[in-house]
Symmetry: C2
């Protein structure tokens, strides 16, 4: 019943994550009501997205297609002997915003999840292991998400790296209370971690 | 810090209604991870949206750009002597899905809202008044939204139409309990309407 071009736009926008048909309808109708420039601009950025962004062959971070290797890796001010391992490229930007880390990164490309068909050999684990040797790495910081999948991945990673490099320092991000949470509402596991890893004042 | 093409896509998607920077980031990153065809498809539909959809000059409904007048108006099976007045073009499709209405439509293009700078002369009221005469209309059903703006618009519309066409039947959609609501949670105005407009069993 709807004009077919509007229907097509609703279908296409409905493929975005978490967007149902009602939301897609709202987006499409908003664009239709706005100036044609707005949808042209969105379309243009989406067309350029794959062209102008690529994955770093060393760290698997995302970068401008004009770069050969991630600027976060080639930067001479960054310490290549420390690698922080994350699941997804965007995790890097969350960490960079803290301005507290000066080593380099490695993106696994996900976490082990047999339910979703993601097995260890689909993650960039071999490449990480190679980098540990190539760059004479002294510490690997595992920063997978605090989820079941992230935890399993961290455990496997620790096991594999420890087998190959018995002297390598392997750490993971601290567990504890995040800013602004009430003790009353903190879950048991977080609270246990916060207690076990308490720090001196 | 992010690759500029990704940043551009995040900015552009962030212009969609109700989409904050986090959601825009999620959409853009999802598209980046998906096959390039997916974002190309979305881009293509958005480019065609304005080209292939236009507004009917009579009813102000939206229609394929190939049509001259809305098919819902030219259809000889539809009763042109009854006009149902809605705020927005998509309201028509909600009503069409009921398969309970066989008259024609008129889109106002919004509701009066001095706060948002929408005044009566920006709505398609004159065109509605003209249609009432041109098509020898016997009934106008006002189906603006049950909001403050929709109500004000309905009252003004009734007043204007009544002045010009004293014999015209002017109705509005019934107020009452929607399906699935508990009496306990129904608001006072709805409940009052439901009581006032009770029907015989």
């Amino acid at each position: 019943m709807l004009p077919s071009a509007l229907n097509d736009a609703i279908d296409a926008l409905g493929r975005l994550p978490g967007v149902g048909s009602r939301t897609a309808e709202r987006y499409a109708y908003y664009l239709l009501k706005s100036d044609a420039n707005v949808s042209a601009k969105v379309a243009d950025t989406l067309l350029k997205l794959h062209q102008n962004v690529r994955t770093c062959p060393v760290t698997f971070a995302i970068m401008d297609a004009s770069e050969d290797i991630s600027p976060l890796y080639v930067d001479p001010n960054r310490d290549k002997s420390t690698i922080l391992v994350v699941e997804e490229p965007l995790d890097i930007y969350a960490l960079e915003r803290t301005r507290s880390y000066h080593g380099v990164y490695h993106v696994l490309g996900g976490a082990i999840s047999p339910m979703d068909g993601i097995m260890p050999d689909q993650l960039h684990i071999k490449e990480l292991s190679k980098r540990v040797a190539d760059d004479a790495v002294s510490e690997v910081i595992i920063a997978t998400n605090p989820s079941v999948e992230g935890e399993s991945t961290a455990i496997l990673l620790e096991k594999l790296l420890h087998e190959t490099y018995p002297k390598l320092k392997i750490t993971r991000l601290a567990r504890g209370l995040p800013l602004g949470i009430s003790l009353e509402y903190a879950d048991q596991i977080t609270l246990t971690s916060a207690l076990d890893n308490r720090t001196n004042l």
